[in-house]
């Protein structure tokens, strides 16, 4: 390292060479182009060591084919044609990209050749497909990546004991949870900057924790429990965390990664990329990697054509339904599953292979989802054979793969499934055709998962023809809200899965008429909900208390595009992201709808609250706290009051200071103004008045003839 060269060493060397160091201007020394004299640059270009983009310029797209027949010059062309035929099936060989060296003495080939493609992906594919290819009995291809040769050459011949690295204690990744003021963090991305802030509602402004320019190439994402912040780059993905400095914890190489997804327990990270084929008729090639977040190891990779990975297209993100792998079984990250043609492939994370070595066969399945807490899959099969075979929703237990419950549905046009977040209920929104098949109406099938035999209840809206605009379960609760209706002012209804005297009977709580809303946001703690009219509705917000069935407040964040509750349900953020140029920024509201503060940022792309892991308290303990809330809150109330007093005191001081500063300016100006008076008078030809009202008022009457107009007015005597 450059820094390790001591000044004494330099001086000694200078004396040796007879150079007087004091006459040398060190800054004027420039190194010849392309030469660094072994001094590494200070600009640490991260991921340089395994930067595949750089390799693309090198030899990553070349494969070496070994075990070819050794042929004399007469047969050279024939062999070349055979090889060309085999390898051009996989991808376009670069012009002059096939090279078979010839021994200059014997004029025979060496028995190997090089094939160069346009992309490393094609080369990779060629290696996969043709390694072990039998040309004839005695010539079985051995295909390797050109770059791998280096790697294999470096393997020492003798076994060496692995070096055991000393244990270095890691950082406390949960430090942010121990904030003294119990604040929450959020990250924003605006312009080229990514910034993490504390939401300091007491001070009515955010407090910067960490800021970095060009932190990510495309987007950022928190892991589900908030431990990591993931950034996405051309070369792969990285996760950051720890104390307030957000050190890099791990990087996951995946060239041209487009999408990432954490498992719910944040043990694994799934990355996705899709590569354009060199032959435009081919489909895109898709690469998926599943990494272990802590070790950075690839646990399993999946490669294939884009078709294989987009068996159904419900939520389409750049051509694929993301996430392709859906994680199940709660926070243990035990299973993940993917929808295929007529199958659901369920993998388990112990061996990262298919559960029972085979996929779950379900003819024509189009959608499935996991229970958020239990290893149960809900799947939907549409109507078949023109209505002869009914559509069905079934619940399948994993790993047993036994069907827990099934429900057949008739004349179904579409179906959506909503799990309640503690896995107690499943609502299936079913759109059915009317008898004439000209229109559809909507109903709900409500499954009670935790009850015996999983009873199903059918719920229809009061007005069956209403369109469903939004549906949302109360987190950890038994209620749900539905926005329904036609036209610009839909209604919002609340239902409970319980009635007063029968806890397994659904009942309607209330319907609110004519609301300007198209989205529902329950507080993470339940009880409170915000109806938002986003986009077309200009950002109307209504804060509603579902326990009391009353509106707490209404607000507006003009043109808001996103609404996010903080993980504790204390605050709400509304943001205008960069879908258009105007009004970009965010506002923070209290849960009850009081606007706390507002920040404007140009080119505002993302706002994300840092998630919190679930509470470690037992339900009993939580119960006890909420019962004795007054006792606990006393301390915080005092702190709030102190902070408030301090704030107003500071504010008073600041204002006083500003006023005094200003008066200083004014006094100076007044003095200068006075000093300049004689000069000013001179400029005005001795006119005495400066700015005071010293001039005389003269009254002048001017009569001006504007227009003379002659008109004959008929005079009628009998007008009366």
């Amino acid at each position: 390292m450059a820094l390790e060269i001591s000044m004494e060493g330099i001086e000694a060397r200078a004396r040796e060479l007879g150079v007087d160091l004091s006459t040398v201007d060190l800054d004027s020394i420039t190194l010849p182009a392309g030469e660094d004299f072994g001094i590494p640059s200070d600009d640490e270009d991260f991921l340089r060591d395994d930067d595949p983009m750089e390799l693309e310029m090198g030899f990553a797209n070349i494969v070496v084919v070994d075990n070819l027949p050794v042929v004399p010059p007469e047969k050279f062309e024939k062999l070349e044609n055979v090889i060309r035929k085999i390898y051009s099936q996989i991808g376009a060989i670069k012009e002059g990209g096939l090279w078979m060296p010839v021994n200059p003495e014997t004029k025979k080939t060496y028995g190997y050749c090089f094939v160069e493609y346009n992309t490393p992906q094609e080369a990779e594919l060629a290696r996969e497909k043709t390694n072990g290819y039998k040309l004839d009995k005695s010539h079985i291809f051995a295909v390797n990546m050109f770059d791998d040769f280096d790697k294999y050459m470096k393997v020492p011949d003798e076994w060496m004991p692995a070096e055991i690295k000393p244990y270095t204690p890691g950082e406390n990744l949960q430090k942010w949870l121990a904030d003294e003021k119990a604040r929450d963090q959020f990250v924003i991305r605006a312009g080229t900057f990514t910034e993490v802030y504390w939401n300091d509602a007491r001070q009515k402004m955010p407090e910067l924790v960490f800021q970095k320019q060009y932190w990510t190439d495309s987007f950022i994402q928190w892991s589900p429990l908030g431990t990591y912040l993931a950034t996405v780059h051309r070369q792969g993905s990285q996760v950051w965390g720890g104390d307030d400095k957000f050190e890099r914890l791990m990087r996951f190489a995946h060239p041209q990664v487009k999408l990432i997804d954490f498992s719910p327990g944040e043990k694994y990270l799934v990355t996705y990329s899709s590569h354009e084929p060199s032959n435009p008729r081919d489909t895109h090639r898709v690469v998926l990697n599943i990494f272990d977040v802590r070790t950075g190891k690839v646990m399993r990779d999946f490669k294939g054509s884009a078709d294989e990975f987009s068996a159904s297209g419900n939520i389409s993100v750049s051509g694929v339904s993301w996430p392709i792998f859906r994680w199940g079984g709660g926070k243990d990250d035990k299973y993940f599953a993917r929808l295929g043609k007529n199958v659901i492939s369920v993998y388990e994370t112990e061996t990262f292979s298919l559960l029972d070595k085979k996929s779950l066969k379900v003819e024509n399945v189009v959608d499935f989802c996991w229970s958020p807490t239990d290893p149960i899959i809900a799947l939907f099969v549409p109507e078949l054979g023109g209505g002869n075979q009914p559509a069905r929703v079934s619940l399948v237990q994993i790993p047993g793969k036994e069907e827990l419950r099934q429900k057949n549905l008739f004349s179904v046009s579409d179906c959506k499934m909503y799990w309640q977040n503690s896995g107690e209920y499943l609502a299936v929104q079913v759109d059915r055709y009317t008898k004439t098949k000209k229109s559809t109406y909507t109903g709900f099938e409500l499954f009670r998962i935790k009850e015996r035999d999983i009873p199903i209840e059918v719920l229809e809206l009061d007005n069956k023809n209403d369109k469903i605009i939004a549906f949302a379960w109360e987190p950890k609760g038994h209620r749900f809200a539905v926005i329904h209706g036609d036209g610009p002012k839909p209604d919002i209804s609340f239902y409970s899965m319980r009635t007063a005297n029968n806890i397994s009977r659904v009942s309607k709580l209330t319907t609110l008429k004519s609301k300007q809303a198209n989205a529902l946001y329950w507080s993470p703690g339940g009880r409170f909900i915000v109806f938002a009219g986003l986009k077309g509705f200009n950002g109307q917000l209504e804060f509603y208390n579902v326990d009391e069935l009353e509106t707490m407040a209404t607000g507006e964040h003009f043109m808001a595009t996103d609404i996010m509750w903080d993980p504790t349900g204390r605050y709400l953020a509304s943001a205008v992201t960069s879908v258009h140029e105007m009004e970009n920024g965010f506002q923070i509201w209290s849960f009850s709808g009081k606007q706390l503060y507002k920040v404007s940022k140009d080119h505002f792309y993302q706002f994300l609250w840092r998630p919190r892991p679930p509470s470690l308290l037992t339900p009993e303990k939580e119960e006890e706290i909420s019962k004795n809330l007054r006792k606990y809150s006393k301390k915080y109330e005092q702190e709030d009051q102190d902070a408030f007093n301090q704030l107003s005191e500071q504010e008073r001081k600041r204002r006083k200071q500003l006023q005094e500063d200003w008066e200083g300016w004014v006094a100076k100006w007044k003095q200068l103004h006075e000093e300049e008076r004689p000069y000013r008078m001179e400029l005005r030809d001795g006119e005495a008045s400066d700015d005071e009202e010293e001039y005389d008022t003269k009254e002048v009457e001017v009569e001006e003839v504007v227009d003379v107009h002659e008109e004959e007015v008929p005079f009628e005597l009998d007008q009366e």
């Binding site: 140029e581 500003l658 200003w662 300016w665 200068l672 300049e676 000069y679 000013r680």
Partner: protein, 326 residues
């Protein structure tokens, strides 16, 4: 505060100016004829016909007898305020943009745009008391600025001229030598085109508005930055209240960026800020396009705004306005 709507222009407004007594309001627009209005009730008194291009700005002499206007037709004209008669024409080889009379009304500073091969200039002309003595000759030509000069005004005692424009820099020039004395700090100063500049009543400080969505208050002698007012949209027009410690800032998104039908989308509001605390006090809505011109009545009891929508809106403040506590 019910505004008086004054419809006298067919094209967007460009500039508004009260006379010293505050009884007359002069308005310039992209149509070719500046208007004069009664500042109290918004009645139109007359029109100055003669320009052949958009009129960018105007100034009225201290005794309200003469009006000077600068126009895109490459002329600046002197007018008789009362009769509307054209008195004299200064011809240039580029559009004239900013005009202002000096103390004593014996001099005027006129800026010309960078047009074809011409560099932008600020020129000082002598304004003769007797029209027969009037000449087109320039006493001083200031050059050396890159990008259009949007505003040039006189400093105290006519000793300096202050320019601001497209290069986001404010400069103070010596009127004797034509040399640049001071330049605004790159870090502290505006980051984008300065669109407007307005002086305080006593010429001790001035306010600039910029497309960087801020307005800044400067000391006129030392060019020290005193205050910054941040808004959410590009600033096209600014003025300082002569009565209270308030400033008014107007603007809005460029017409090309406004795709919304809702008039709130562009924020075409005149925003009031507390001059000292730099906090927003309130806003006056109404225009259907960006605000291009703002002016306080010299008595500080009314103000008018001119918009891209072609309207001038005259607002008399309610008594509440004078009791605002912050």
């Amino acid at each position: 505060m019910r505004p008086i709507l004054m419809k006298g222009h067919e094209r967007p407004l460009t500039f508004l100016r009260y006379n010293r007594d505050g009884d007359l309001l002069f308005s310039c627009a992209k149509d070719h004829s500046p208007n004069v209005w009664f500042a109290d009730n918004g009645d139109r008194l007359g029109t100055y016909r003669g320009h052949n291009g958009a009129v960018w700005s105007c100034d009225v002499s201290r005794d309200s007898t003469r009006l000077i206007t600068g126009s895109a037709d490459q002329t600046a004209k002197l007018w008789d305020v009362q009769t509307g008669r054209e008195l004299f024409t200064f011809r240039f080889d580029a559009p004239a943009r900013s005009v202002e009379f000096a103390i004593g009304d014996g001099l005027a500073v006129i800026t010309t745009d960078n047009f074809m091969d011409n560099v932008p200039t600020a020129q000082v002309k002598r304004i003769a008391e007797d029209l027969d003595d009037q000449s087109e000759e320039s006493l001083l030509v200031i050059t050396g600025i890159k990008g259009r000069i949007n505003r040039a005004v006189w400093g105290p005692l006519n000793r300096t001229i202050i320019t601001a424009g497209e290069d986001a820099t404010i400069r103070i020039w010596d009127t004797e030598t034509g040399k640049c004395l001071k330049e605004s700090d790159k870090e502290q100063g505006h980051q984008k085109t300065i669109t407007s500049l307005s002086k305080s009543a006593d010429w001790s400080h001035f306010l600039t508005g910029s497309l960087d969505k801020s307005a800044k208050l400067w000391d006129i002698r030392t060019l020290t930055l005193i205050k910054t007012y941040v808004t959410e949209r590009p600033v096209n027009a600014v003025d300082i209240s002569p009565l209270l410690d308030h400033v008014v800032i107007g603007g809005g998104q460029d017409a090309m960026n406004v795709t919304m039908t809702d008039r709130r989308a562009g924020k075409f509001e005149a925003k009031f800020f507390h001059k000292i605390l730099q906090e927003e006090i309130g806003g006056v809505k109404g225009h259907f396009g960006p605000i291009n011109a703002l002016a306080f009545n010299p008595d500080g009891r009314s103000f008018s705004s001119g918009g891209e929508d072609g309207y001038v809106r005259l607002h008399h403040f309610d008594s509440d306005y004078f009791n605002i506590k912050i």
